[in-house]
Symmetry: C2
Subunit: 341 residues, 2 copies
């Protein structure tokens, strides 16, 4: 199926002229964070698998402003508007939050879904100011449904906004696991370089030392630095390349939630550490604590962490099933379509 | 308001003969577990506060079997059937599970709500057998809504049953906090004596020793042993007595989830430890991790636990707000009433 999306620079696609109901996904990332790219890939796969009656249309984040009036003019009663999921609701990534407010406060007559997100407004002047702006914008839309991807965010969304809030996993957990047996070698350290980083360098260096007994050790991030931008056309291949990378590792040490998700999907032993506000920790306990080859820790004692790593690296693979946990999202879309068609 | 409930021994109340819609709560406990009693108290308070149009009718668990045909005959289209919340869905407490199946498979034409529960079917022959029986019974009721009180249970219910599953806190977190400043003295150890117990005696005794510097130390359980049974008439006073007991303590050490909830409500420093399947741990992380005077640990190192206790005992009290987290339950009931009336 062709990719339809509105893009004002390199490639421009017009809105398709047909009678199918449309699912407009705004805020689709062009930047090179593979976690966010995988989210967009999974959201598309989810809608196209579960609701084939809908035509899925992606609006890249750079085009949100130009696309809003175009979509506003073309939108029909069955159509659904959505905004990309991730870990950026709040005041830490205000470009995303500003775009979200515009979309939510514009399409007030259609089901509008904020795809699975974590939320964090800081408890300071900027956080409170931005929260008020978001509350004002979100409250204009009675058809807006917020999806929380962890219980902490579910609680925060319900205490912050008056909108309906539902609870599902991160979209990437909808993706199929990669089931092949490849030879594993090496430890991959996947760490963020942004303001959310809290893991101490001494802990990371200590773990590097203890894993470094002839084993290849590499450092990377899920934010790619060998491409400038990613589009819905190129992200599929890059996602596969990322899973391929993970599937060859003996172990992943990370503070990136999606590095843990990629480890789940590839059966790769993985230890997740904290970020500044617990988004990975909560998502881990909520959805994947029962998966034997991944775990979370706040520990700083190297002896204890090494014992935990040994346990993970010796664990067996087993089946798991997170897909039923998307049911609240499924029911919201299904009921809307049945009422409107 | 009078207590209406069907009771076949001491006191018998007939079903009230009026036109008000009824809210039938089955499985109301008569046993002396104050956690479960507080749940029943809170459920009644919740419905009476939020849906005053409904008349709340409690059916004690001993009377479930006799009440089912009586209610079946009298039930009207606006009426709602519910089964008491708690931590007993699964195969560990089969008397509750058997009663639940009967109620769910009987009232299939009315909204039926399984109040906030944790679920645990063991991964053994008995667990699998009982799970199949529950799946068969629950699947007969298309109007059944299961409420999970922690994310682990939300996941398990969605992977086990085809019914709608929603996510709210334990009902007791709906109760108002006790805001009075009383003189605190002593440490209270509140430990279970049932099959869910996993905390090592050496840890408990070690903590007792370190807290025992002239401070009164007592051991108790939230299951009372000075009364034989509790009814909807007597539970209110016993609940107040329990909160009074907690509010005078300097610190609570416990493996009982509701001992932690009573500590939240009374502003009492509390450290919660594990049970056999993590129901307290998950509920803690999901709803009350942001409350400073309570915490959870799996730790067995006494030095570390003592540092955590010191931190809790030095923490300040602050406001918290869990009530918005009951919104999914509220919306289900509100929408049902508006569609049926």
């Amino acid at each position: 199926m062709a990719n339809f999306y509105i893009k004002t620079n390199a490639v421009t696609h017009e809105l398709p002229d047909n009678k199918r109901p449309k699912f407009f996904m705004f805020g689709v990332p062009g930047y090179t964070n593979m976690g966010d790219q995988a989210i967009s890939l999974a959201a598309r796969k989810y809608i196209e698998n579960e609701f084939p009656e809908y035509q899925y249309i992606e609006v890249l984040e750079d085009d949100d402003d130009k696309a809003i009036p175009v979509v506003k003019k073309a939108i029909n009663r069955c159509d659904i508007v959505a905004f990309t999921g991730g870990g950026n609701m709040g005041n830490l990534y205000s470009n995303h939050e500003v775009a979200r407010r515009k979309v939510f406060s514009t399409f007030t007559d259609n089901l509008t879904i904020s795809f699975p997100q974590s939320i964090h407004f800081e408890d300071n002047e900027d956080g409170r100011k931005e929260q008020k702006l978001s509350q004002a914008a979100y409250s204009k839309n009675k058809n807006l449904v917020l999806v929380a991807r962890d219980a902490q965010s579910y609680h925060r969304m319900q205490t912050t906004f008056n909108n309906t809030v539902i609870f599902t996993p991160d979209m990437v957990l909808y993706m199929d696991p990669l089931k092949k047996n490849v030879k594993r070698s090496g430890a991959l350290f996947v760490f963020r370089h942004d303001g959310e980083k809290v893991v101490k360098d001494s802990v990371v260096q200590g773990l590097k030392k203890s894993l470094d007994n002839g084993r290849p050790i590499e450092f990377t991030d899920t934010v790619l630095d060998d491409v400038d931008a990613i589009t819905p056309v190129t992200r599929g291949k890059l996602y596969e390349r990322e899973l391929e990378l993970f599937s060859h590792q003996e172990v992943i040490i990370t503070d990136r939630w999606h590095a843990m998700v990629f480890s789940v999907l590839t059966g790769t032993p993985c230890l997740l550490m904290g970020n500044s506000y617990g988004k990975g920790k909560h998502a881990y306990f909520d959805w994947i604590e029962s998966i034997d080859w991944v775990s979370y820790t706040d520990e700083e004692d190297l002896g204890r962490i090494n014992r935990q790593l040994k346990f993970l690296m010796n664990s067996s693979r087993h089946d798991y099933d997170v897909k039923p946990d998307f049911k609240q999202l499924h029911d919201i879309i299904k009921n809307y379509y049945q009422n409107k068609k």
